[in-house]
Amino acid sequence: MLAETLRARRQEREILLMTHIVMGYPSFDASLRVVEAMVEAGVEIMELQIPFSEPIADGPVILHANQGSLQAGSTVERCLTFGEEVARRFDIPFLLMSYYNILFKYGVEAFAQRMAEAGLAGAIVPDLPPEEAGDYLAAMAAHDLATVFIFSPNTSDERMARIAAVAQGLVYCVARKGVTGADTAFSDELDAYLARCRTATDLPLALGFGVKDRADVDFLRGRVDLAVIGTQTIRVMEEQGVDAIKPFIEGLRS
């Protein structure tokens, strides 16, 4: 279902935007205002990250946001409530993003059920490769939730095919080695990689890691379906405040 939604939107726009927030950072109030701003600015889909104490795949900015949120007292329950709230209020799909331990401790089946009840579209779990994802795939499927998986530049063709077989909704293509938040040199080198991604799946492709301005988004036009803006929105918020987010997002495609 998520894939269809995104494909439909793609008919309207050459490139879609997926944005990311860490829930509860710096507060749930702020998170709500950011979601609002992003939706108003026209983003097509959002990732809501439940903070984890050991966010191994995240770079310094998101890591810091994870810790800030936890220090401010956010809990998994509060994040799920927040997810439910925004899912009901705003008419775009929301994905949960977190590390596997959050789901595992909650109980994977219970977590999926809760997500479904909350009206969330699916999840991204960056430390859960398909090989470890048996329980998760079953639970998510049972509740019609999208299981977003990740391709990376050094994922082999064969492995891409195997991942594609269990992926739902969209595939998140990591632009390069490294963690979130570092600069990516967007160049033609990416093309070969994205061509491989395209061959492996007909799900919408999202490209993330380092997308930070209009030039980056322009570059991705025609190459992928979604551009993912993660770290950069946190930076904008930290440096210029929540009010700066809407114009920032709008500027990426206007």
Binding site: E54, N101, K105
Partner: protein, 409 residues
């Protein structure tokens, strides 16, 4: 796809997609090395000429008399180059890095012991080296930072999270995710994603192999019990490896900190405070809250102050093959003190945890029994911590005088 490294329900490989190919390569290199008898031979030769393997087995005659029970033998990993069993793992991984053709190694370190060992290995093999170390640990373990820097390593203080060992591990993974092409992450204990628990155990099994032969030769029998401290679990797995198939009781001793009922400890398997979880790439018992957020741990021994534990040990606990106990900070200082006085041996604070439990049990056993304690490292590397643990006023005065001398410059 290679084996994923499960031990019962524990282990696995929970890694970001970007690292999958790197792990595949590592698993393959490791499997090839295991299958190549020349590799182990080269490892033994290296450890025999660069460190001092086989490390001796010492009969603790005075402690034996003191407790009046089992005969106490001590495996002397403290005599390794760089002062602990960490050297075994690190030099083994160094050989593997050479085999894989990489030119840079990174590592996490808590107490600094694994960092010094890795920096040493890097110097010896000519690798570039970056060590991640929580800022808190950088501050309290400056001597080790000093040596790592002298050894040519870049020490990066990790300012995120709780700024201790687990955060250093996260940060090392972040580096690896970026630089996997030329870089190997030399994880320091039998934790983390497959193949680390198995691989580290394999290199450390040299302890148990040697010890088994030495105890047999020395006493004509196998030990009744074997004691080892458990941080991540590498020295314990190393010595236990030699006795898994024998009728020998294996006892792992975790950090009881201020007491199991205070919450201020690092006992994953000996307390009821831990629960199954997935973090830092593997599934095991973690000290975590109900949401799955990792908790702060405490131990007088920095090397045991860790939230997770080897999945192999979790499995051996579940199967009943290994028994677990905890030693409090105070018990550790007392056992350390006694061991120094009676035998002239200075176990690391980590190692002294194993001594505590052995001392509790030795009197129950008879002179026919033999117990083996793994002295994983030497304590003189930790003078700042040990002097504080002993609360020595002369030491404090010395430091004050030294500070004044520096101020006067």
């Amino acid at each position: 796809m290679p084996e994923r490294g499960y031990y019962g329900q524990f282990g696995g490989s929970f890694i970001p997609e970007i690292l999958v190919a790197t792990f595949d390569e590592l698993i393959q290199a490791f499997e090839e090395a295991k299958a190549d008898p020349g590799f182990w031979k080269a490892y033994e030769t290296l450890m025999g000429s660069y460190s001092c393997r086989p490390t001796p087995l010492s009969y603790a005659e005075n402690l034996t008399e003191h407790f009046g029970g089992a005969r106490i033998y001590i495996k002397r990993e403290d005599l390794n180059h760089t002062g602990a069993h960490k050297a075994n793992n690190v030099m083994g991984q160094g050989l593997l890095v050479k085999r894989m053709g990489k030119s840079r190694v990174i590592a996490e370190t808590g107490a600094g012991q694994h960092g010094v060992a890795t920096a040493t290995m890097a110097a010896k093999f000519g690798f570039d080296c970056t060590i991640y170390m929580g800022e808190v640990d950088v501050q309290r373990q400056r001597p080790n930072v000093f040596w790592m820097e002298r050894l040519g390593a870049t020490v990066v203080p990790v300012t995120e999270g709780t700024r201790i060992l687990k955060d250093a591990i996260n940060e090392a993974f972040r580096d690896w995710v970026t630089n996997m092409d030329d870089t190997h992450y030399a994880l320091g204990t039998a934790c983390g994603p497959h193949p680390f628990p198995e691989m580290v155990t394999w290199f450390q099994s040299i302890i148990g192999q040697e010890a088994r032969g030495q105890v047999l030769k020395e006493t004509g029998r196998l030990p009744t019990r074997v004691y080892a401290c458990v941080g991540g679990g590498s020295n314990a797995m190393g010595v236990f490896s030699g006795f898994l198939d024998d009728d020998v009781e294996l006892v792992g001793v975790e950090a009881g900190g201020r007491g199991l009922d205070t919450g201020a400890h690092a006992a994953r398997l000996a307390s009821r405070d831990a629960s199954l979880g997935v973090a830092q790439g593997y599934k095991t018992y973690f000290l975590q809250d109900d949401d799955g957020q990792m908790r702060e741990t405490h131990s007088v021994a920095a090397g045991l102050d860790y939230v997770g534990v080897s999945p192999i040990l979790s499995h051996l606990k579940e199967s009943g093959r290994v028994r677990f106990a905890a030693a409090t900070d105070q018990e550790v200082v007392d056992a350390l003190s006694l061991t120094i006085r009676k035998e002239g041996l200075i176990p690391a604070l980590e190692s002294a945890h194993g001594f505590v439990q052995a001392f509790k049990e030795a009197p129950e056993l008879s002179r026919d029994d033999v117990i083996l304690i793994n002295q994983s490292g030497r304590g003189d590397k930790d003078i700042f911590t040990v002097a504080d643990a002993f609360d020595d006023p002369n030491w404090r005065q010395f430091i004050r005088d030294k500070a004044e001398e520096y101020d006067a410059r």
